[in-house]
Assembly symmetry: C2
């Protein structure tokens, strides 16, 4: 059991870490795409979104270990999003990973992984499962805590965006209210918390529904694969706390973006605004925007959607409740790898 | 034409650069295997031996560019030796490479590359050719300047060692001798240099063979894939100027080395000594020998073969004539990328 689990009111940290934020080919300061959803406190797992070549080596500079990765969601099959997958799977095995790992992605991902492992005679120490998505996406995963849905985007090749929604947290027991009602503390509290009605010794009936607060809506992050501006992005992003979007091009490059099936900073910001997200994190930054030039993309976007940041490799962001906070990356304050 | 071509007596630099020197999985300071034979001054090409994941990103820290890579020799199909291949091929294309590229390696390399490129819908800008080696190896490449031969080693999976031999340089024209013989300088020198006999105005005949020095034997490097100690290594390494050998294990770990089909430092040194090579470069260093612990492997080997070095990522070594020099890495002194 996770010894860092916090109690009751405090909710557990959910974070997103960027292992690679470049486009096309690796560059000095940006590796190709790899995004980690850190659910270590929640469920002691890490979910990856795309695994570009070198992602496993980037992990050495983060606190994520391959064996914590239980689910991998691939947006599309371009090499800069998948060529790191066989190596990561091998190292997870090499390091003694035993838990089943599931890979979600477009049709073809299974063949790529299976041929890579077979040719290299790699025998994994853990079971692997593939879920190749139907072309129109859908709800691809439902756990007791999260739902992941996917929708197709508009790229040269089948490309999906993902929306991860945390289920609502049940309302808290209103202890002050119970005291006002002179309900004696004890096992009754537990029953009321579960929503049951209880009858007191004095004959009164207390309805659970009356002493439980409103449920806390879960957090939501949308991670969008390479794409032109498209309506499905809006659907995936609507009201998300965090929107991770590509910004391969900048303002004034709309034509190139369209021709190459990508998005500009300004288009991404427009989506963020219309979808009313909490914050926008721009990634998939072209080598043409090296160093400080990348800030240009952020300035352009902020004129439309202020709460925007161009992310860098190894940036970690909290995913807050209710679109709170700003776009500042966080320093990791809790042991990230929980045994 | 290569403007750095040197004339006559000066021979052109042939170098070996280590892009990855680790074993199995990437580590902080050692990426997985990638070795570059820099023939930039000779033929303006780079030949790679193995392409582990992340090799193309390592190249960003070297002076090698993917489009200079014309031949790739794969020792064996384990992931840490091939998973960087699709990405490198893609980037070579992305950067506008046009020259044909040939990949040599065990049966299976073609399927791995073709499936990777097909699934990712990568269309290369240049032709690619595969040469899958027969199980017993042989001469795999013969150019006007070099011969590359391969022999099978003893690994869990088919693994080859390669021997690259530069052809002998023809002897130089002995100008001093011609002056002694009063042969007038001019076009006759050219004919004599080509080995022809010429008749002078005074009736004397000068034999080309008499005024040409001994040919200079070419340089030779042996690059050995993962293997147990085996006789074929000796054959490949015999009299090589440089022997690149794996040293996954250290002294006293012979049993583990054998069980895992690898070699110890001491075994590699013994081969170097018996094969009478010029220098021994140990690579494929396990993460168990991190940092200074790797020196231990070198000390062990030097007790048997003094001219040994454990190499690090980005080390560059000259391949000298006649086993000269020591094992010190060189600083690159000439523009490495020649247009």
């Amino acid at each position: 059991m996770n010894k860092y689990l916090k109690k009751d009111k405090e909710f557990l940290t959910m974070q997103i870490e960027f292992l690679g934020t470049g486009a096309g080919s690796p560059a000095h300061f940006r590796n190709v795409t790899g995004v980690a959803l850190r659910l270590l406190e929640e469920i002691n797992e890490v979910w990856l979104f795309d695994v570009g070549e070198g992602t496993q080596r980037q992990m050495l500079q983060s606190t994520i270990r391959p064996r914590k990765v239980t689910k991998i969601f691939i947006t599309h099959l371009h090499g800069d999003h998948i060529y790191g997958l066989p190596g990561l799977l091998s190292s997870r095995s090499f390091q003694g990973g035993e838990d089943e790992l599931t890979i979600y992605g477009p049709k073809g991902i299974r063949q790529f992984v299976e041929v890579s492992l077979r040719v290299s005679q790699t025998h994994l120490t853990y079971p692997i499962k593939f879920v190749e998505l139907p072309v129109d996406g859908g709800d691809v995963l439902q756990t007791d805590k999260f739902t992941v849905s996917a929708l197709p985007l508009d790229h040269r090749i089948t490309s999906f965006g993902y929306r991860v929604t945390e289920h609502a947290h049940p309302g808290e027991l209103l202890v002050e209210r119970l005291r006002e009602l002179n309900v004696p503390a004890g096992p009754l509290y537990g029953q009321l918390k579960q929503g049951n009605d209880v009858t007191l010794a004095d004959g009164r009936t207390i309805h659970g529904a009356d002493v439980i607060g409103a449920p806390q809506p879960g957090r939501c992050v949308a991670i969008i694969g390479d794409t032109r501006k498209t309506n499905n992005t809006m659907t995936l992003a609507r009201n998300a706390d965090v929107l991770v979007h590509e910004s391969t091009y900048g303002k004034g490059e709309g034509k190139q973006a369209r021709n190459h099936f990508h998005t500009t900073s300004v288009q991404a910001a427009t989506i963020a605004k219309q979808a009313q997200v909490g914050r926008l994190l721009l990634t998939h930054i072209s080598a043409r925007y090296a160093g400080k030039a990348a800030n240009e993309l952020a300035y352009q976007a902020r004129s439309i959607f202020p709460n925007t940041r161009v992310v860098n490799d190894f940036d970690v962001f909290d995913i807050p409740f209710g679109k709170q906070g700003n776009t500042k990356p966080v320093k990791l304050t809790v042991p990230s790898e929980v045994e």
